[in-house]
Each structure stands twice: as C-alpha cells, then as structure tokens.
C-alpha cells in the first residue's frame, strides 16, 4: 500500500496526550467559575428579598438577622457614576490625543507606555494614593467622592485603551472627506470621528465601569464604613457594595455571612449585567456593520 505514511504510535500518543491536557486545562479554568457562580446564587438567594434591597444596616445588632444593603447599593451607584464622570472625559481626550494629535512622537509614546503600566497599578495603591493626597495632604474627609477619585484612576487606562482602539478603527477616508470640505480638525473629530466610534466607546466605558464596580480595596481606604444611608457622596463616610460584602464576610455570625452572600449576588448581578449589555452593544454593532 502506498497510502499516506502512518504516524508512529509514540507520536500519536503524544499528540493525543497533549490534546487531552489542553482540554483538561480548559475544564480546570471553567470549574471555579461554575463553582463560584453556583455558590453565590445558592447562598445568596436566601436573603435576596425586598428587605435586603430597601433597608440599611442601621440599628441591626451583631447577631440579628435582617438588615440590608440599600445604603451600599446607593453608595456604589453614586461612586461609580462619579468615577465615570471624572475618568471618561480625561480618558477620551487622552485617546484623542494619542490617535489624532500624537503622531507617534515622544510624548505620545510615553503616555501610551504609562497607560499600559497604569493598568497594572494595584487597586489598593490607588486607594492609598487618594488617602495620602486627598485625605491626609489636603485634609478632605472620608467620602464617596474620595472613593470615586480612586476608582477613576483605575478606570482611566481601560477607557483610554478601548477608546483608542475604536478611534483607530475609524477609516481615514472619513477624516479626509471632512477636511476636504474645509472642516477644522477639531470639528472633524467631534462631529465625524467620535460619532462613528461612539458605540464602541460606550462598550469600552461599560466594561471599565464593570471592572471598578467590584473593587473593594480602594473604597476601604477612602469612603470608610457606615451602616446608615448616606445619599450625599460629597460628605461623610459612605458604603459600597463590595465593601459591604467584605465587612459582613469578616463577621463571625451566620446572619452576617448570609448577608455577605446576598451582597455578593447583588454585586455580581450588577457587574454581569453591565458586562452583558456592553457585549450586546458590541455584538449588535458588529452585526449591523457586517450586513
């Protein structure tokens, strides 16, 4: 027979073995995800009720059941919103500088490099920075705003990177067509480039929001703890949902652990929802473009 030479048994076994290991690695990666999600849902549903969503921890004794995370949910929403208001304009403008004005010069390369490095700054360090600068140096009080400052530093590099990627996808023909009509560069950017990249930028921002919404360490050092509702992010300690989970998980009672799980469930729901919506926008956009 002169058909294709058969592969020796040893090589075939090795090939199969490698394949098996690769499949196993993937399974190993998925197991913790399933385990975490399942436990969070199972343990979290016990207290996932109206009281949890509408009450704070004020006047809830150490061993009492009941109580809720309303103050923490409000805090998280306000802090994340403030952080977005700070980081999105700065991040977007930086991305515009990098794509439209930088021209690969030394400054733009330095900014680009440090944006990458900034993604790796530990979240606890941004918290410490706001503590050192805002609270200790400037003498400002612990507040939701301080937490938002720390979160915004974490958000900035993500916003810059995703916005930059989207701006680079805008075809140069569009820019040139606009210039040919005598439109100034900045108006071209505002009226042509940004609208074209808009949905992509929204996706990136939402992913950045999802990333910081679950951050605990920076909040711990900047917004401090409270068991009461504080609607004003500009004065006095606030609570955040991740902080709430950390606080309750560190307490020795089962009632607190139950609240921690439900807090975790609420937090994951918020984060996953943001993630999902962002991906849906991205998917919807690419589908619309493909057709």
């Amino acid at each position: 027979m002169t058909t294709v030479q058969h592969i020796s048994a040893g090589r075939r076994v090795k090939d199969r073995l490698a394949q098996g290991l690769v499949y196993l690695a993937f399974a190993l990666a998925v197991v913790p995800l399933v385990s975490v999600l399942w436990l969070v849902i199972k343990n979290g549903l016990a207290r996932f009720d109206l009281e949890f969503l509408t009450h704070s921890m004020r006047n809830i004794g150490a061993r009492d059941a009941g109580g809720g995370a309303y103050h923490a949910i409000i805090g998280t929403l306000e802090q994340v919103l403030l952080a977005s208001l700070i980081s999105v304009p700065i991040g977007l403008l930086t991305a515009i500088y990098l794509t439209e004005y930088g021209n690969g010069g030394r400054l733009s390369r330095a900014i680009s490099f440090f944006v990458d490095v900034m993604t790796g700054v530990p979240s606890v360090v941004t918290g410490l920075f706001v503590l050192a600068f805002w609270i200790l140096f400037l003498g400002m009080p612990f507040s939701g705003l301080a937490g938002a400052l720390a979160l915004s530093i974490l958000m900035m590099p993500t916003v810059v990177r995703s916005a930059e990627e989207m701006l680079r996808l805008v075809p140069n023909d569009l820019r040139e067509a606009s210039y040919a009509l005598g439109v100034a560069k900045w108006r071209t950017i505002v009226k042509v480039v940004l609208p074209t990249a808009f949905t992509g930028i929204v996706t990136g921002v939402m992913l950045a929001v999802a990333r910081v919404a679950g951050e605990t360490a920076p909040l711990l050092l900047t917004v401090f703890f409270t068991d009461s509702i504080n609607n004003d992010p500009f004065s006095g300690p606030q609570m955040g949902l991740p902080l709430y989970v950390f606080d309750q998980a560190g307490r020795p009672n089962d009632t607190a652990i139950d609240r921690a799980w439900t807090g975790a469930l609420t937090l994951i729901l918020i984060v996953m929802l943001l993630n999902l919506v962002a991906r849906l926008i991205a998917w919807w956009r690419s589908a619309a473009r493909g057709r």
Binding site: V22, L33, V125, A264
Partner: protein, 326 residues
C-alpha cells in the same frame, strides 16, 4: 487676535467659518494634550504623595523597615516589611506556578483546538472569570475552598512532608498560603490566558502549515511553530499576571491568617501579604500606623511598577519585531 484671524480668512464668504475653525482648534488640542499629560502627572503624583506621607512614619520607626518581621506601628512603633514582602512574593509565586500552565492550555484550546465557531464564546467564558469581583473570590475562598483543601493538604503533608514547602507540624490546612495562592491563580488566569491567546493567534500561518506539511502532528506543530513564536508573549503575560497577584488585596485579606513571620510551609496557617495587611490593618491604624501602611504600599507600588514595565517592554519589543517581520 480675532482681527488677525479674519484677515487670514480672506473674503467675507469664508470669514465666519475660518474664525470659528481657529476658535476651537487650539483649546481642543490643548485639552487633549493636557489630558494625556494629566495621566503622566497622576502616575508621578502617586509616587510623590506615597513618599511624602510615608516619611514621617518611617522616621518614627524604631525598628528597621526592611529587615524587621514585626508590624506594630500603632503600639511599640517597630515595623518592618520583610515578612509581608516575603508573603507577597511566595503567594504570587504559588499563583503563577499554578496559573501559567493552565492558562497556556486554555489559550491553546481557544486558539488551536476548539471548533472555530465555539472559540469566541468559550473565550468569553474564561474572560468572565475576570469579571467576578475580588471580594466574591475571597468569600468563596474562605467558605468553600479552605475546607475543600483540608484533606489534600493533609495528604500532601503526610506523604510528601519531606519536601520543604509541604512540611510542617500541628495544624495542617485551613487559612494557608496554598489556599491564597490557588485563589490568586484563578484570579490571574484570565489575563494570562487572554494575552497568550492573542500571541498564539498571531503565529504566521505559513509556519504552521509548513510544519503540518512536513508531517508534524498537531502537537508537534504547536511545539515547533506556535510555542517558540509565542514565548516572549507568554513570558510577559505571566509577568502581568504576577503583578496582578502581588497587588491583589481583598481576596487574600479574607484568606491569609495574618501572621508576621517568614515560613515556607504553605500547608500550615502562616503568612500575610503587603496588600492584605493594608486592608486588614487600616481600620485600627493610628496616624503613624497609616503612614506605615502607606510606606508598605509604596514598596508594593515600586515592585509592581517594575514587573509591569518589564512585561510591557517585552510586549512592545515583540510588537515591533512582529511588524517588521510581517
């Protein structure tokens, strides 16, 4: 200033648009450049203000900051980073040893093994691991993983106890470095897998097809074409993962037993990390204590900065290489 612009604008028909054009351009350009410079300034400010707030505490330190094991900035004002830094490095090393091979497997699975149609959604599934908040991993680790690891830890200690990492007497299992390391491994897996996947996908098709045409099996093709090409990418991905693991705070703050000693027994309840100590110690810290925590954060910042800059330099060099080679 406006008259100058108008004369440049020429005839009356274009005057309006010309003046409007120049009105916006300079401020807009200035704002964009300013935002970029602001980012650089923030990075510099992080270093400056951590140093300035750490110095008073370091002055008040009655011990040696780099060699002392104790951490009592609130009471006796003797504190040193040695035990914390050791714990940070050890736990991150455990995480890296576990996560890197698995992440490479995951990356190969997505890039070369999974059916093309499924590759996207399956990759998204792994990315979801990164979307789970750190505090949730901590909660999961304390209530689920720590009890789960008890029996395997005892087995390892009984049968492989001669190996220094697995040695130790007394209580085996519980809140250990191993448990912390496993949780860290899960948390850094997505970033290592995502970057490795990108690099593996960039392998020139020609190299892959050449290997297959020479009769290589899939695994041989991967070993000869994909892995050598992707090695620098995987190295930098692992370094980015290392940086993440060292800076990870809340999950390990819930898991580590917060002892201040240097012990390589990863199966006994020993250990702490810089980040975990900041989270656990901040509540009761006096002004000196806060300064001491900021000083420890400064050490963490410098270490992670070096690791990240190294990783980014490898990636950037690779990018240029890939561009010129393409």
């Amino acid at each position: 200033m406006t008259t100058d612009v108008r004369t440049r604008g020429g005839g009356p028909a274009t005057r309006r648009s010309a003046s409007r054009r120049s009105h916006g351009e300079a401020p807009f350009r200035f704002a964009a450049t300013g935002a970029g410079i602001l980012l650089l300034a923030i990075m510099a400010a992080i270093a400056v203000f951590l140093i300035s707030e750490a110095v008073p505490a370091l002055r008040a330190n009655k011990g040696n900051f780099f060699t002392d094991l104790t951490w009592e900035p609130n009471g006796s004002q003797v504190f040193g980073i040695a035990a914390l830094a050791f714990g940070t490095v050890l736990s991150s090393a455990i995480a890296l040893v576990i996560a890197t091979p698995v992440a490479m497997g995951v990356a190969l699975f997505i890039s070369h093994y999974a059916p093309r149609r499924l590759a996207g959604p399956l990759g998204y599934l792994v990315d979801l691991l990164a979307a789970v908040p750190s505090v949730v991993y901590g909660l999961w680790g304390v209530t689920f993983l720590v009890p789960l690891l008890k029996t395997p830890s005892e087995w390892l200690n009984a049968h492989l106890g001669w190996f220094p990492l697995f040695s130790g007497e007394g209580a085996i299992g519980g809140k250990t470095m191993l448990a912390g390391g496993v949780v860290l491994a899960i948390m850094i897996l997505p970033i290592i897998a995502a970057i490795s996947r990108e690099v593996f996908l960039q392998t020139p098709r020609m190299n892959e097809e050449a290997a297959l045409a020479l009769g290589a099996t899939r695994w041989e093709m991967i070993r000869m074409a994909v892995l050598p090409f992707g090695r620098p990418g995987v190295v930098s991905a692992a370094m980015l993962g290392l940086g993440r693991a060292m800076g990870e705070t809340i999950a390990v703050a819930l898991i580590f037993p917060a002892t201040f000693d240097i012990s390589i027994e990863i199966l006994t309840p020993h250990g702490n990390s810089i980040a975990a100590n900041i989270a656990n110690g901040f509540g009761e810290a006096t002004p000196i204590g806060r300064g001491a925590l900021i000083a420890s954060g400064l050490v963490l910042f410098v270490i992670t900065l070096l690791v990240n800059m190294g990783a980014r330099m490898i990636i950037n060099r690779r990018k240029e290489y890939a561009r010129s080679g393409a």
